[in-house]
Every structure is written in structure tokens, then in C-alpha cells.
Symmetry: C2
Subunit: 203 residues, 2 copies
């Protein structure tokens, strides 16, 4: 057992796939390896075929998303942070809409099923902090609210990026989150201010 795979090649192929996706060029086996110097067989030794490559690409999308959410600078106002996380989610999805679409394509299961959980975790922690400082009622189901916030973001960005709604529709995110948070006990005026602060951080 001797020759070992080069992780750099693996990353290269995934990056090249994301690049083709971004350029809206057809993602074919031969197009991927073109220019990389490696042969088509590399896709099979590293990913066991195109399916595996799609799988890995999907995983990479979630990894980038989680990194993006983790990079959001947290403040003393967890409700603001929640809105900021939502805005970062939308921003990430719109920055690479094609990668985003692959992420939510079935047929390619994730290598690490917990990757998607990373997205929820960021939201979950913010919700729990909001409960801790008394912004949300103590009987609020943190996981439920985190999931609902995710659904708001995903629904909007999905209808805009791959659906029939204009980009302007993303502005609905703020009032939707506000309604959600007020329903969890936050003071309406305070909530509106927090969401406004967090929501408009991203372009």
C-alpha cells in the first residue's frame, strides 16, 4: 500500500467544479479536468465518479456556508445577531447561486450528514443567548425557532435565486424575522431596531 492520494488534487477538482458552476458552463467530466493537467480518471480515484464529485461539491457548499455564518461578528444583542446571520445566509447564497442550488439538490447525499447541522448551530446559539438575556420567553423552543429562521431565509433566497421572485423580495426577510421574534416575546420596538441593525450589514 503505497502511493497516496494528493489532497490538493481533490480540492482542485472541487474548486474547478465550483468555477464551472459559477461560469454557468456545463459541468462535464472532460471540462473539469481540462486545464488541470490531470486526466479524467482522477475524478474516479478521488470521488468514484461524477456522483461523488457532486456529493463533495455539495458538502463544500455547506462548509463554506457554515464558515460564512461563523464569520459573523457577534454582538451583545443576540436578536441583532440572528438577523445578521440571516442576512449572511442570503448573501452567501446570492454570491454563488449555482453552488447554492447544488447544495439543495437531492440525489447526492452528503458525505458528512452533520454538515448541514453546522448551519443550524450558529442560529441555535444565537437563539439561546436571546433566551438567556430575557429577550425571548424561556419556554421558547430554541431549535424550533432556529429552524424557522432558516426556513425564512431559505424560502426567500430560493424563490429569488432559482424562482420567480425579483431580488427586491429579499427585503421581506426583516419583517418576517421580526414577526417571528416578537412572537417569541421580544419587545416589538426593540426587536424592530435589532433586526434592522443586523439585517442591513450585508449588501
Amino acid at each position: 500500500m503505497v502511493r497516496t492520494k494528493d489532497p490538493a488534487v481533490r480540492a482542485l477538482l472541487i474548486e474547478r467544479t465550483a468555477q464551472l458552476l459559477r461560469a454557468r458552463e456545463p459541468v462535464t467530466l472532460r471540462a473539469i479536468v481540462a486545464g488541470t493537467g490531470v486526466s479524467t480518471m482522477a475524478v474516479y480515484t478521488y470521488f468514484d465518479g461524477m456522483n461523488g464529485l457532486w456529493q463533495a461539491t455539495r458538502q463544500e457548499g455547506f462548509t463554506r456556508l457554515t464558515a460564512r455564518l461563523g464569520a459573523v461578528t457577534l454582538s451583545a444583542d443576540p436578536v441583532r445577531d440572528l438577523a445578521a446571520l440571516g442576512a449572511a445566509y442570503l448573501s452567501n447564497a446570492l454570491a454563488n447561486p449555482d453552488l447554492y442550488r447544488v447544495m439543495f439538490d437531492v440525489g447526492f447525499e452528503l458525505e458528512d450528514p452533520a454538515a448541514a447541522d453546522g448551519t443550524l448551530d450558529c442560529l441555535l446559539r444565537a437563539v439561546e443567548r436571546a433566551k438567556d438575556i430575557g429577550r425571548f420567553r424561556s419556554d421558547v423552543d430554541a431549535l424550533a425557532l432556529a429552524t424557522q429562521s432558516w426556513a425564512v431565509g431559505h424560502g426567500l433566497v430560493s424563490l429569488v435565486a432559482t424562482g420567480p421572485l425579483p431580488r427586491q423580495a429579499l427585503d421581506h426577510g426583516a419583517p418576517m424575522l421580526t414577526a417571528l421574534f416578537i412572537g417569541c416575546g421580544d419587545d416589538p420596538d426593540t426587536c424592530r431596531r435589532s433586526v434592522r441593525l443586523g439585517w442591513h450589514l450585508e449588501p
Copy 2:
């Protein structure tokens, strides 16, 4: 100018495509025409290729969705109706998840761009009725609220049907819509009751 296309063939091919989608079999040109008696050229005379067939299939999905929403029996309680429309939306998407995915696939534009508007119209009318009878404040932007309700439904069903959330997550729809409607001025207790009534009509 003489021989005219047979609309039945057109419908047949679309139906066969939806059927392959439902059976999770690969939707290939030859698989579509197999068993129909027509040749592969039919796809080109009727749809100008596979792209056109996907386009038409996407359109068919929206048509069915709008029909499904239109079949929801309305009541004197427009807030209940809104929840019922949301439940019907989820029910329709889960009944044919593959057709639903095609509907929100870019790359295939709709033949009739107004088809997606039909979905919104049903919601819009319910919102306006709710305003008329004073359940929602008069300054509520009906189109905005309809869009937001759509985003809630789409976000949830999308995360469940083609994403990482379990089917159980659909239950979040009721509290999310409730929060939205209360934010529009509906009385909390009345709203909860209305949403509960409408939401649980569909399986």
C-alpha cells in the same frame, strides 16, 4: 400549411415526463417516447427539444399547483383560508416532489411568465379579505404578506423535500404563519385558532 399538431400528443409527453419523474427513473428522450408509440422526433416537433419539454413540464407544475390552491374551499374566516392555502401548497409539493423540484429549476423559463402569479393571486385575495373584515390592519401591504406566506411555505417544503430537514419540520408552518398574521394585527388567540383550523385540513 396543412398537417396540424395533435394537442393530445403534447399532453401525453408531458404526462409521461411527470410519470418518469414520479417513478424516479431517468428522464431521457428515448425513455419518454418508449411505450407512447410516437418517435423521438415528436419531442422536437412539439417542444423543440428536451429543453422545451422541461419548460412545458415546469409550466404544468405551476398549473397544477394553481388548480390545487383554487380548489381550496374558502370560508368566512380568511385567516383560516390563508393557513389552508399554505397547507395545500405543502401537500401539493409533497405529493409530487420531483415535479416540484423541476418547477423551481432555473434554466427553463416558463412559457407563460404569469403562471407563477397564479400562486400568489390565491394568497393575495385571502389577505385582502382579511383586511376587509378587519382582521389585519388596513396599512398591511397585501402583496407583501402574500409573498411572505409563500416564502414560508416554500422554505419549509424545500428544506424537507429536497433538503436536510425531516418531514416533521413541516409542523413549523403553523406557528410561523401565526407570527406573521399576528404581526399584521390579528388578535393572537383568534389567529391561533384560525390557523389551526386551516392548517390541519391537509394530511
